[in-house]
């Protein structure tokens, strides 16, 4: 009997802890949305109420149609999609080479890639600025895509290598005996099996590019080239009191990340590399 009660006490504590975690995780996001839908005239009077007494979508419409929000959004889409696409392409090839070949210099190349993950990226912000200036790629989305792609390739390569390692070598050998060239085996057998991995990598890189602020601040200065983080930062410094609109913009910026998150959530723990494809 005693053990029963202590069990239920422990159980209650566990649930309480879980609830606290959920509240802590969700509250800031909730607040963002709450201010965004509170009518301007109530923001000060009802500032700290948990629920607004009425709500409005005015802030969203004015953000969407009266500001440069859509331009920022479009720029961020171009940059993030471009980065995700090129990074995944380059990283897939490199990850495949790491996973399937033994070759001279492999250890050195891996070490170099690891080093790029270790040093402060800000260390190269100044040289990159000068190099980009020399290449006339300052203030250009192409320049941003190139820089982001390079930044993300090492991590994405290790990720893809993990996915390839999870696919038995036998499969492509069987395909090669069945009549494939190595490249055909890659395309017809290995590639379809890596699709979940590819999707996850694309998503990761997309989010990374979507969130990047400091290099974008440095490399972009004209209004029509700004990505979302830069735009929002500028927006905040310019209209520091238009809370509702800022939070509406923030809420909108959250949407792509959340969509991505919902898509990959189930992969997170069940091991990104675990044999999702084991026969």
């Amino acid at each position: 009997m005693a053990s029963r009660t202590s069990f239920s006490v422990a159980g209650t504590l566990r649930y309480a802890a879980i609830i606290l975690y959920v509240l802590f995780a969700l509250f800031p996001i909730y607040w963002l949305v709450k201010i965004a839908i509170t009518p301007d005239r109530l923001i000060y009077t009802e500032g700290t109420h948990i629920w607004p007494s009425t709500f409005t979508l005015d802030n969203f419409t004015s953000v969407l149609f009266l500001t440069d929000f859509l331009v920022y959004f479009k720029n961020s889409m171009i940059v993030s999609l471009g980065t995700a696409f090129f990074t995944t392409l380059v990283a897939t090839a490199a990850g495949y080479a790491f996973s399937r070949f033994h070759f001279r210099g492999k250890a050195i190349i891996i070490a170099l890639m690891l080093i790029t993950q270790m040093f402060p990226l800000l260390m190269i912000i100044a040289p990159i600025y000068k190099i980009m200036a020399g290449l006339r790629l300052l203030d250009s989305l192409t320049g941003l895509i190139i820089v982001y792609t390079a930044f993300n390739v090492p991590f994405a390569t290790f990720l893809m290598q993990g996915f390839f390692d999870g696919i038995p070598k036998d499969l492509e050998e069987a395909a090669m005996i069945d009549g494939c060239t190595r490249f055909e085996a890659l395309r017809k057998v290995i590639f379809p099996l890596t699709l979940p991995g590819l999707a996850a990598t694309l998503g990761f890189i997309f989010t990374a590019a979507w969130s990047e602020l400091l290099f974008a601040l440095m490399l972009i200065n004209s209004d029509d080239k700004m990505t979302f983080p830069v735009g929002l930062k500028t927006f905040v410094s310019k209209f520091a009191v238009d809370w509702g609109q800022m939070m509406a913009a923030g809420t909108l910026a959250l949407i792509p990340s959340c969509i991505f998150f919902i898509l990959i959530q189930r992969f997170l723990v069940q091991g990104l590399t675990a044999g999702a494809v084991k026969g």
């Binding site: 005996i177 069945d178 017809k188 026969g279």
Partner: protein, 345 residues
């Protein structure tokens, strides 16, 4: 007619020399089993025949053609992998027909050959399933079916049964034997299981540490093992080895040989008698296994390894009893100091 000729084949992985100067000839239509302990190089040899590993030196010849530099797909072979290597994203039918799909065969021919192979292996009802919905034995059949559809010059098997449970393994072993009778194709089969080797092979190649120890028919290897390794590897329970100076051993002069350092006798070639002067070896029974059909005695005769005797039927001799053993003279093996068999009686 030879189907495969290996001519002084060597294989090194960096500094490690894993196959040493292997020369073998496999006849057309022959079922050859490569057998040996793990790490002996048998799988590497098979993968070189398949074209999955480059040959370090030597000639690999199919019929009259040197194939060292041919891609796997150009060698007209099919292979069944230990892991089956079924394509998880294709159903059984596409798995079976994938090689034809790659060769751009028309649908009718593909259909005909796939269903033929499925018919042979009893896969007709599973064609729409995906590999993950198949049992181990079914996967094994699909892997074999994929090879049958190819109708290749040579079939290669890389430990195909080692992932199956005991009962299925026997069933599939029979299936493979039937398949060989039916198709008559040259087959090269790698295993570490000597029962598979004995039951399936026309000829067995026993390998150890990168060398070929002996080549021959199963019964030849059983009756006339060339050396201690082959003698100890084939047969179950294993052959007993007794040192020539073992105090428990008293062989009549006619059975001994001046150069013999080790005597070998299989458990089934021994009779049990009273522990008297006629006995060739005397010891006490340590363990008895009664299988019904046979009784196996583990006899302590003072050496590290127990001496194993198998007598047919049920023998009631009890644990701890002292008994004598008599060896059948024709089945006694003698090995010299190098472990080589001494052939003259």
């Amino acid at each position: 007619m030879t189907a495969i000729t290996l001519n002084s084949i060597n294989k090194s992985f960096g500094p490690v020399h894993v196959l040493k100067d292997i020369s073998l000839e496999f006849n057309k239509g022959e079922f050859v089993v490569l057998v040996g302990p793990s790490g002996c190089g048998k799988s590497t040899l098979l993968r070189m025949i398949a074209g999955l590993e480059p040959v370090s030196s030597g000639d690999l010849i199919f019929g009259e053609t040197r194939v060292n530099d041919l891609e796997p797909r150009e060698r007209d072979i099919a292979m069944v992998f230990q892991s089956y290597a079924l394509y998880p994203h294709m159903n059984v039918e596409r798995n079976l027909g994938f090689s034809l799909e790659l060769r751009k065969r028309d649908a009718a021919e593909k259909q005909k050959r796939t269903s033929h192979a499925a018919g042979i292996l009893g896969l007709d009802k599973l064609l729409d399933r995906f590999p993950k919905a198949l049992s181990g034995g079914q996967r094994q059949r699909v892997a074999m079916g994929r090879a049958i559809v190819r109708d290749p010059q040579i079939f290669l098997f890389d430990e195909p049964l080692s992932n199956l449970d005991a009962a299925l393994r026997i069933e599939m072993r029979i299936e493979i034997a039937k398949l060989h009778q039916r198709l008559g194709t040259t087959m090269v089969y790698v295993t570490h299981d000597q029962v598979e080797a004995m039951t399936l092979a026309d000829r067995i190649v026993v390998m150890n540490a990168g060398n070929v120890e002996q080549v021959g028919t199963p019964l030849d290897l059983y009756s006339n093992p060339a050396n201690l390794f082959v003698a100890g590897f084939l047969g179950s329970p294993k052959m007993n080895f007794v040192s020539h100076d073992d105090p428990a051993l008293s062989l009549p002069k006619a059975l001994t040989h001046p150069k013999a350092k080790t005597y070998g006798i299989r458990p089934e070639h021994i009779q049990v008698t009273a522990p008297d002067d006629n006995a060739h070896l005397i010891g006490t029974i340590d363990v008895v296994e009664r299988l019904g059909s046979d009784t196996i005695f583990y006899i302590n005769h003072g050496a590290k390894q127990p001496f194993v005797v198998r007598v047919p039927g049920i023998d009631r001799t009890a644990l701890g009893e002292k008994i004598g053993c008599i060896f059948q003279p024709n089945d006694l093996h003698r090995f010299n100091a190098d472990g080589q068999s001494i052939s003259e009686k």
